[in-house]
Symmetry: C2
Subunit: 736 residues, 2 copies
């Protein structure tokens, strides 16, 4: 933390960025950021420094920070706050337009309405008031679902109340608007919704005394449900720590846990506990959870994809309801979401591909889709092959094979394109020709196959083919009945230096499969010899016989084996034609296998540890809150966890110190004895024990008192200090 102390607090220096000490301090922090660009502490330190300087000088930093944290409101709010302070209205407006729609933050929206209120004083003109009202409405539409949106509703209502209404009509209108906002608010599971509801009831009683009982009763169902759901939602959201700056994922348990919490919220919304009938509203509530998750975890690509999938599903549903407006909006939202993903991941093809897919979904003009693919190809420069492949295949679908060929030609000119597109192009040519021709005339088939073969050959000349290429090409040749070339290709693959032994074994296995089906004995022999050489090179565990495994696999066909499963296990068989089996196994796997076979053996019922409960050793820096027992640190059981939270810290207890054994004995006997008995029993024994008996009696009294309180609602608030103060405050306000 020492790094973040500014070297001097001299106010004269504040506006001077050229001080050497300050410069070196900034440089130090910048170097930290260079090592880890996600160092939140460093960013916050720089922001604290920037907050003390004129915003005009620090715009580079502020822009950098909001570019680095585009999804999170923290730096946006600071930046905008500085601009507001400096009175740069134009910049403020621009900044708000850049972030307000993207970030589902109550704070940011509050900042906006306050800014609008400030720049358009409501008492000056009706237009100003209209502007403010609009800002509030938009804010409610954006973040009104938030459990923390209470202040927003509160401010809105206060604003509406403060607007002067001339004449009964205007007043009625104002009341209607207020009621609308009130009713919106009390249907949302907000934190502190109870006060909101109480205030609302009071509002109804004041403004609509005639119908207030009926109206509040009607609303109370929604309110009660919202309150109930709020009870579940508030702790959930508190655990999410939305104020924390996002950081890169590091595949750690902690992060997995956090994402699990986010998913809990999303699942909560998906279950529709508020029983929302309006599909669009429900969709937006779920989307709000997703968008919040993206705000805090923008580096989780799966959340981006799930959000897009959520919009996509919703669009499907809207389509099914023939709600075209909603469908369009939702697809727009999905595309916009992916655009925001591109901001963070400009060099990944994924997001562009999904946008193109969305455009294809809504049958946009080909030019539009092409522009997306071109944008993608402009950014994804390291290996644009996949983008080209999908561009080509899209062209085939949406336009004609000619356009697809043009894309392939373009791809071939690129230096970074790899062999996979040749495979795709060859198969595309083959299949497309086949689909277009009818099945009776096969001359076109032949020509298509020839085109495909030429493309394969081209790739062979241009690249060092990889295993997937060889496998696809061999398979293609075999299915084209070109067995001779297939054999030649297999031999080339087996001689290739670029392939691993495992890959070669899989290719040789394919070759063996075809050999047994149509080859002669000599070719089977030849393949077997190659396989024997490859198996000898394979690093197998010592108990596996490469020769035995190879000979057995020679006779396997599909799922059949010439011996049985137990035999295979006994010889630690490795299937040399199967990629799964060829992945090297750890000693742990082996050990588990040996256990399985041991427990299957009826002879020796040996005492074995339960491996399922086995936790690998994991060093933990801080294992407080964990129960350290030999074998690892475990979380306390739920019940003890609860108790730990209830019990006061040990420092707060100064005596008396009872005899623990006796306490436990008494507790165990508690049911049998009444307090009278206890007192009687205490009579005879020493002072310490007597105290315990008294404590027990006191506790009993307290329990009875608590129960009495619960039964009597009138007296329930007697001890609620918060409510007492609230009531006092209301009284004071009422008096004013």
């Amino acid at each position: 933390m020492r790094d973040f102390e500014r070297p001097t607090r001299d106010s004269a220096m504040m506006h001077n960025t050229n001080t050497p000490a300050l410069q070196s301090w900034v440089a130090k922090i910048e170097s930290r950021l260079k090592i880890n660009p996600h160092d939140a502490e460093a960013w916050l330190a720089l922001a604290r420094d920037a907050g003390n300087r004129p915003v005009d000088q620090m715009r580079t930093f502020w822009e950098r920070s909001v570019t680095h944290f585009p999804t999170h409101p923290y730096f946006w709010q600071l930046y905008i706050g500085r601009e507001i302070q400096a009175g740069h209205h134009e910049e403020v407006e621009k900044l708000f337009s850049r972030c307000l729609h993207k970030i589902p933050s109550v704070g940011l929206n509050l900042q906006h309405v306050r800014y609008v209120t400030q720049t358009n004083p409501p008492h000056f003109s009706v237009q100003n008031r209209e502007k403010i009202r609009e800002a509030y409405d938009q804010a409610v539409a954006r973040v009104g679902f938030d459990v923390e949106a209470g202040p927003l509703y509160h401010d809105y209502i206060t604003f509406l109340e403060s607007c002067e209404a001339v004449g009964p009509y205007a007043e009625q209108q104002r009341s209607a608007k207020m009621r609308e906002v009130w009713q919106k608010a009390v249907a949302v599971p907000l934190a502190g919704i109870e006060h909101m509801w109480k205030d609302y009831c009071q509002f109804e009683a004041t403004h609509f005394p005639a119908v207030h009982e009926k109206v509040t009763k009607d609303r109370s169902y929604e309110y009660i449900n919202a309150k109930k759901q709020g009870k579940a939602l508030v702790p959930l959201l508190q655990s999410l720590r939305r104020d924390k700056l996002p950081s890169r994922p590091r595949t750690q348990e902690e992060e997995r846990h956090q994402i699990g919490n986010w998913r809990k919220w999303i699942d909560f919304e998906r279950a529709n506990p508020l029983m929302i009938d309006d599909a669009n509203k429900l969709m937006r509530r779920i989307a709000y959870a997703y968008e919040n998750c993206l705000m805090c975890c923008p580096y989780r690509i799966d959340i981006w994809l799930e959000t897009a999938a959520h919009y996509r599903d919703a669009a499907d549903k809207a389509k099914a309801r023939s709600d075209q407006v909603a469908e369009r909006d939702i697809i727009d939202a999905a595309a916009y979401c992916m655009e925001r993903g591109i901001v963070l991941y400009p060099d990944r093809a994924l997001f562009y591909l999904i946008i193109a897919d969305l455009e294809e979904y809504r049958k946009s003009s080909p030019d539009r889709v092409k522009r997306i693919f071109d944008r993608c190809l402009g950014k994804v420069t390291e290996n644009p092959t996949l983008a080209y492949i999908h561009y080509m295949l899209w062209c085939r679908r949406a336009e004609t094979i000619k356009e697809a060929r043009a894309v392939f030609a373009r791809a071939r000119a690129e230096p970074n394109v790899t062999q996979e597109i040749y495979v795709a192009a060859a198969l595309m040519e083959y299949f497309t020709a086949a689909v277009q021709t009818c099945s009776t005339c096969s001359s076109k088939d032949k020509r298509a196959a020839e085109v495909a073969l030429r493309i394969f050959e081209l790739a062979c000349k241009k690249f060092v083919p990889n295993a997937a290429f060889y496998l696809t090409y061999v398979n293609f040749l075999v299915m084209q009945n070109d067995q001779i070339n297939a054999k030649i290709l297999v031999e080339k693959a087996l001689a290739a230096e670029s392939l691993t032994v495992q890959e070669k074994l899989i290719i040789a296995g394919k070759s063996l499969e075809f050999d047994t089906l149509y080859g002669d004995y000599e070719s089977i022999q030849k393949t077997e010899r190659s396989r024997a050489e490859l198996m000898a090179q394979l690093q197998l565990q010592p108990s596996t016989s490469p020769v035995g495994s190879r000979i057995i696999s020679r006779w396997n066909y599909l799922g059949l084996t010439p011996i049985n499963e137990a035999d295979l296990k006994n010889i630690d068989y490795v299937e040399s034609r199967d990629p799964v089996s060829l992945t090297p196994r750890t000693s742990f796997d082996l050990f588990k296998d040996s256990l399985v076979s041991k427990t299957a053996d009826t002879k020796k019922p040996l005492a074995l540890p339960d491996l399922n409960a086995m936790i690998p050793f994991k060093p933990r820096r801080n294992n407080r809150g964990f129960l350290a027992v030999p074998g690892g640190d475990y979380a306390f059981p739920e019940a003890i966890e609860q108790l730990k939270r209830l019990v006061p810290p040990p420092e707060s207890f100064a005596g008396p110190f009872p005899d623990v054994d006796q306490v436990i004995r008494l507790l165990l006997e508690e049911n049998a004895k009444s307090t009278v008995d206890l007192q009687k029993a205490a009579e005879g024994i020493d002072a310490g024990i007597r105290t315990i008996a008294q404590i027990v009696e006191m506790a009993d009294e307290a329990e009875t008192e608590r129960m009495r309180l619960e039964i009597d609602p009138e007296r329930r608030n007697e001890r609620d200090i918060y409510r007492l103060r609230q009531a006092k405050k209301l009284k004071v306000e009422g008096a004013e």
Copy 2:
């Protein structure tokens, strides 16, 4: 062990098997054998009992025992011994003919030559002597390689010596024969070869005094090498415990270890340390090791296969040398080896298939191969599909497609045949037609494809297709450009109840692959919807997003992915089109992954345990001989292991008890001080230490003496008690 005590030892009852007590005892042991037919103790107990009864009554038991342990000599020897005792010569001859060729046991061969000697007294006739000589020659040919073959050679020479030779010519012939046997013996790494060599030298000196020095010198190179190799071989073979009865494999570490020891012997022979030039002889030495392994571990199928592969390789080599006789013999040996495998595993197709393959290798008449397949089909009744498949494919290779079709027709009539043969038959029809026609006219191709399709359809009607069937069929249809039926088939597969979610996902993945290559947008959408449903059903770890994984896999092509590897790891990506990735991962795998990503993270260099050295907890009943340290029991280092064997047991030491620290100090300083210094040093200290000094001195003297002995060959035998006695004996014999 109490079970094995016979209830009564009353000799009157010996020959009465109907005693109730004895009957119940036998019944008890038989019930043990019913639970575990490999219970060696029970077999031995029964054999002890049977050994006390007349062999005529116990033949059922003896036959049962040699049927159960056909590869091991133990029961054969007992059985034959009983028959010899009873004087049943016919039975003895039959028994010898049944086992002598199969079992590489010195004991059994000795038993045979002794029996021949006994039944053909050598002093009666030349024919008898000739018979005995022949028996000895055969025995030497069979087990002369064995390290324990010493007694056999010894007996042979004694026998030859005992034969009376009339006239100098006969005597010369006898000497030549003896010399031949001697020379054979001293070239083999036998246990106790040194005595053999000495006796041989003496023999040469006695019988060929003129040339003996030259001859023994010529032979000494071979002898020295054999002696050296014997030093390595004898402990190896002792560790193999060839006298132990074989038991079923149980995939235990102990057994793995034992097989490892066997492989050590085999590898030892393969390395040709005796520098044998004769390829056949070397082949037989290696084969001898394999056959020994099969004798003791007959339930290791991999050893059977390796033995067959060894013969097969040798046959290839013999072929390369144009040694046709050897080639034929070796292939015979291979086939014979597999026949012996069939005895143990009559219901596994593997051994029959290998025999058929051997016949195909040596181009036997088709009838011969057919007989093998028919034998196989007669035995492998549970699921003869694989046997039929290979029968059919062999027919296609060796005969014509018509015979292959006949086999397929025969298979279809069988009730136990499964769908795999339909796949093989369909592909065979397709490929064979294609190979036979030239590539220009494709009408035959079409017809072949139609035949194949009919076979596929037939299977679909008759069976509930499994995943492999669906995949092959879909692939076939797609490559036949029958996209419509391919789609229908995919849908059928996805609706099938018999497939698991994982299997369906792989089929849907294949479908997606073809859809992106040639389908329209709608069919891609449909496949994606199916895949989404399947992914939702999949039991994934909580941190994996099924939606995210599915969407990414939608865009993958061959090895390309639209995001990068690190991104995939961060979201715990599961490739839904790949069988490897769909296998559920254990928490241990996850933990390892998280460690890898953690260590890749430069930020926190946390102290991590070395997982490679992590040994999972394993309860061990008896961990004597292991070093128990926290974390597990480890084997002692090799050096300490050696020392442990040398040191006498602690009970044998009664004092004096030296100060260990001083001893060590003295030992460390040993180089620096002469014995005189030590004695001087000892002068001053107490009696205990003085003793040590004396011990050190004595040890030094002993060492000097030993070295002197080694340098002086004359004195080397001074302390060799065995040789001293031997010499004494020879003297006594000489005196007689």
